[in-house]
Amino acid sequence: MTPNELNSPDYDIPEELQNVVAITTLDKIYNFGRRSSIWPMMFGLACCAIEMIAAQASRYDLARFGMEVMRPSPRQCDVMIVAGTVTKKMLPAIVRLYNQMAEPKYVVSMGACASGGGPFKEGYNVVAGIDKFLPVDVYVPGCPPTPQALVYGLIKLQEKIDKQSIKQVRWYQKGPDSVEVPIPMLGPDLIDPRRIPEIKAKAAELANPPAPAEESAA
């Protein structure tokens, strides 16, 4: 960050102190620190994970953005790059990992599959987009996205972080400091706990087609 970016505009700093003193806002310093050391989770699902590793490797070198420290533990990371096809069988594990991450936490959906099912959308074991369960911050298109595209997506995430204010961020407000997503269950098919009443009503409706009254009962 150059002094011009760091300093707040309305304060004059004497010339002899310009290399020593900076007058800035807490938000700027706070966000600068956060966005320059985003640790991604070492978490690959499918093909996109290989491009994520390629982005880490020498040619593209994510270390330039302070993102080279990939942590296998969700407790230690700031961003979850959902890199690949999300399957129903894997989904409970992904949601659990997200719940285990400490705030502030971000989700980057990498590739067509994670963003909306991609070429495998019609598959019986495929979840059509991770955003049905987790709040996604940045979508990176491509199948798989090139490392450049991923780097661009992560720069967009940095820009997003820059715009946050310490006064408004969720994790410094009163109330629960983290949003827990209910963990889906593997039954006869994938059951989303948030949609149980809906599923019940619909299944009842399918069992007795001319009984629309049951829908309102649920």
Binding site: A46, E51, I53, A57, P72, M90, N125, L190, K200
Partner: protein
């Protein structure tokens, strides 16, 4: 010098089949449907016949087992492809049973352990019970999932039409969101009257842990000793993706190990049977996503066999060049990642990725994409390699890669730490390796010189002079060395191919969206970097495959994982898994 005897073109598998008919009169018949080959064995005699095929006829390597659902005929079929490790074509035998639940077929696992996972897969996806299978659980879907999804009368939630192109998108293109078409507004379906509140969650893992129950607390020297159960994965840095292993430990030693897969099961086969023939090509890219060039080849080989077409001469060379480059980058990555697993965190992998990027540049120039090349077409390849890039391939093959392979060799092969971690660990004897259907480097590291490029040549591999790399100890160190050997052999092939490559068209066919494929079946297999990659396709003469099955080397090579890990340390399991060389996209499909 005497003149060599005239070569008789007798198909050894036909001779073997005749012997089979003589041995089991009435129970074995030739498959005479047009376009089909092989022998149909009655289910009652299968166990005996399989023992005869293995012991007397010498077909010791059971490569592929797959199910086919002939809905209209009311039949289910299990198709076996067995090979001799001395080389030659397959003996194809089939079992046809009535399509009425419970569909049962005797298991061949007592004869070929390699059928283990494949039979579990057929049970999972087709609901065919294998009697006598030691551990018949679902393998790709979870226990409790409703239905057997590959059956032709099983429809997924997002089902729109039987075959593509869908009328909603072609030619008019009025696409409706799949979510808006389904009853539950999502990719789920429940039977009518299902009540999630009254549904009692069953533990999908119950059957898995039940198979480990036999390990109980023992009293050793007066001290009660417990076993520890460790779940590694599906999110674990050492499992190369979303693979999971349930490991039973005694102290640090592995007592038992159960692989759990299906976390990346994205329904290639179900989608593939809806796609048109050509539409499957980009899907094959996403199987083993390190080697899309080889994957394409296996599929085009199978379909070309069915179509009975020739491949353009220049395209044959381009296929060899791309496949061998792909093998080199795969083995580089494997060695780099193996070092990761051994604890040399990421530095060797960075060396590997440097070379891989250079090879990917070539793929990008040829096909337009780094990883998902989609380069092959039936009868050739999609486009030629630009002239200046041909020079780059020359530069890479003749100048850069030989030195880089030597560098890896110099840095690692005699490295004290490396050697002491690998030597003598996870030994697989030749008999075990063949019996568990290992293919590729895993088999050759155990002393069986079986390479499909030599044993059953495809493409133009019979024109090249190269050695089949083989090592004899079957331990992890040999599994590393064989990769280095293979990279050197690949370079030999590349050098010859680059010198011989002729000018000319790159496709013998006219480009077309709809491919006419005559009715019948075909099995195309190639020596992919990870082992034998086979595609079993059945055509009914329509624009879509009736059956599209992938025989994935990563999947079947894991059959021996428990065998190699037992009595080794838990830390060695990580490396042993790395040395198998798995890719989850292909493993789970």
């Amino acid at each position: 010098m005497t003149t060599p005897a005239p070569v008789e073109t007798i198909d050894p598998s036909a001779v073997a089949g005749q012997k089979l008919v003589e041995k089991f009169p009435g129970a074995v018949t030739a498959d005479e449907r047009p376009g089909y080959s092989g022998w149909v064995i009655s289910a009652e005699k299968l166990t005996e016949a399989a023992a005869f095929i293995h012991d007397e006829l010498g077909y010791d390597l059971l490569s592929s087992v797959t199910g086919v659902d002939y809905l209209e005929e009311g039949k289910m079929e299990v198709v076996y492809h067995a090979y001799q490790t001395t080389g030659g074509p397959a003996l194809v035998f089939k079992v046809r049973v009535a399509r009425e639940d419970p569909v049962t077929v005797p298991s061949v696992t007592p004869i070929w352990v390699g059928a283990d996972f494949q039979e579990r897969e057929i049970w999972d996806l087709y609901g065919i019970r294998f009697e006598g299978h030691p551990d018949l659980r679902r393998i790709l879907m979870w226990e409790g999932f409703a239905g057997h999804p590959m059956r032709k009368d099983w429809k997924e939630a997002f089902h729109e039409e039987e075959v593509k192109p869908f009328k909603s998108r072609w030619p008019g293109g009025e696409h409706i969101f799949a979510e808006n078409r389904t009853a539950y507004g999502d990719n789920v379906s429940f039977e009518a009257g299902f009540d999630p509140e009254k549904w009692i969650p069953t533990d999908p893992e119950e059957a898995l842990y039940a198979s480990l129950k036999k390990y109980k607390t023992e009293v050793i020297d007066g001290i009660p000793t417990d076993h520890i159960l460790v779940n590694m994965g599906p999110q674990h840095p050492s499992t190369h993706g979303v693979f999971r292993a349930v490991v039973m430990l005694d102290g640090e030693n592995v007592v038992s190990l159960k692989p759990v897969m299906g976390y990346l099961h994205r329904n290639h086969e179900k989608i593939g049977e809806r796609n048109t023939w050509l539409q499957n090509m980009p899907f094959t890219d996403r199987l083993d996503y390190f080697n899309s060039m080889s994957n394409n080849w296996g599929y085009s080989l199978a379909v070309e066999k069915l179509m009975g077409i020739e491949v353009a001469e220049r395209a044959e060379y381009l296929r060899v060049i791309m496949a061998e480059l792909s093998r080199i980058q795969n083995h580089f990555i494997l060695i780099g990642m193996l070092m990761n697993d051994l604890g040399a965190y990421f530095t060797p992998a960075l060396y590997a990725f440097e070379e891989r990027e250079l090879i990917l540049d070539i793929f990008e120039a040829a096909s337009g994409s780094r990883m998902m090349c989609n380069y092959h077409r039936f009868g050739g390849v999609v486009r030629d390699v630009p002239e200046e890039w041909m020079k780059k391939i020359h530069g890479l093959v003749f100048d850069r890669l030989p030195g880089k392979i030597d560098e890896f060799d110099r840095l690692l092969t005699e490295n004290e730490l490396f050697v002491s971690r690998l030597k003598g660990i996870g030994v697989l004897t030749p008999e075990q390796a063949v019996n568990t259907s290992m293919t590729g480097p895993m088999l050759r590291a155990s002393g069986i010189p079986y390479d499909i490029r030599r044993a059953d040549p495809y493409g133009i591999y019979d024109r090249f002079d190269f050695n089949v790399a083989v090592r004899y100890n079957g331990d992890m160190y040999d599994r590393y060395l064989i990769r280095v050997d293979e990279m050197r052999e690949s370079l030999k092939i590349l050098e010859q191919a680059l010198k011989q490559i002729p000018e000319g068209p790159v496709n013998s066919q006219k480009p077309s969206y709809i491919t006419k494929v005559p009715a019948g079946e075909a099995y195309g297999r190639i020596e992919a970097p990870k082992g034998e990659l086979g595609y079993y396709v059945v055509s009914t003469g329509k624009p879509n495959p009736y059956r599209y099955h992938v025989r994935a080397p990563s999947f079947i090579n894991l059959t021996s994982l428990e065998m190699t890990c037992v009595d080794e340390k838990i830390a060695d399991f990580v490396a042993l898994l790395g040395a198998v060389d798995i890719v989850l996209g292909e493993l789970d499909r």
